[in-house]
Symmetry: C2
Subunit: 168 residues, 2 copies
DNA sequence: TCAATTAGGACCGCAGTGGTACTATTTAAA
DNA sequence: TTTAAATAGTACCACTGCGGTCCTAATTGA
């Protein structure tokens, strides 16, 4: 499924929550964020801690404390958020080089996984928090998808474009 | 980590194994494939069954039976193989529409996940089995990565290109 | 001083992955 | 006709790690 974890998804939801109010560098408490995002407080708290540890959020302790974005939302990428929560981006085990793969020497696909890994990561790195808010990045996505579809490969129509279901 | 499962990785390794011999539409038994890929026979067997069920392989039962590719390796994409083994491609839960997400109505990122999902899937769909064999698709990957990097977003240099470690 | 925060763990149930085993069915070859 | 070598299908299981909770500091504005 190439699924990313729920926690990472929560990370994105929480990060974008800062952009929903007029001033995006405001201070929001874990409690506020949890309520607004419909997440259980302990869960939101855990994710916020991770995001802070990785430098994407700045925390303010004590009464009337909270969190705020560490930089402009246009300069925070989706990939950054995901990696902050779930660690370095590695689609396969051999990409992160644990090194205990018995197939390593006879594996013909390994070096290409490295490349694919970079390609996918770049897709997620090209999308900023700002982009995630509105259904705007149409140009971006179509660009990416069109390029992917027209790379000189056999034009087998694998692609089945799903209709994105809009939010109310 | 956005990790895909080991089984899916095995699927790719097994599928590409057909291309390592001169005639790619030959008949290979599970036992042969298991030995050549250094995979336990039961594991290889399980994955091969899945690939057959999804129509990517054709099976031949009985003595001197085995598996063979159902179509030209240039017309089989990486995405197809992954989906055959681990089910439909969905990076987040809400993408596959289980529908029990309490955040659904207030979630600002949902519709964009649909798009990102398509974008990533297209990256994997643009790479054929053939491409996976040799470290060839340089043009393809650089194209994808360059396009991703130059989409008019804030040109923050998120991208840290890892040096791909070649196979012997 | 107090209450409201964040920081940092420890802890745990449980689903799902990775892997095994067994039986039934098919079929080329002896 | 028999046999052995295959695949098909399913049940089974150990174990990892995810998602989630809770508790105890440390911090700080009111």
């Amino acid at each position: 499924m190439i699924r990313m974890s729920k926690l990472a998804d929560y990370g994105l939801v929480l990060m974008t929550q800062f952009l929903r109010s007029p001033d995006s560098d405001q201070n929001l408490s874990a409690r506020q964020l949890a309520v607004e995002t419909r997440l259980p407080l302990p869960v939101a708290s855990k994710v916020l801690k991770a995001l802070t540890r990785e430098g994407l959020l700045v925390s303010h302790r004590g009464a009337s404390g909270g969190y705020s974005l560490s930089k402009a939302p246009s300069r925070i990428s989706v990939a950054e958020v995901l990696e902050a929560v779930e660690g370095p981006f590695a689609m396969t085990e051999c990409v992160e080089g644990s090194g205990d793969c018995r197939r390593e020497l006879v594996c013909p696909v390994r070096s290409n996984w490295q490349r694919i890994n970079v390609a996918v990561k770049n897709v997620l790195d090209a999308i900023s928090l700002q982009d995630m808010l509105e259904p705007l990045p149409q140009s971006l996505v179509t660009l990416l998808t069109d390029e992917a579809a027209g790379t000189g490969l056999d034009p087998e129509p694998h692609v089945e474009r799903r209709e994105p279901c809009e939010v109310a």
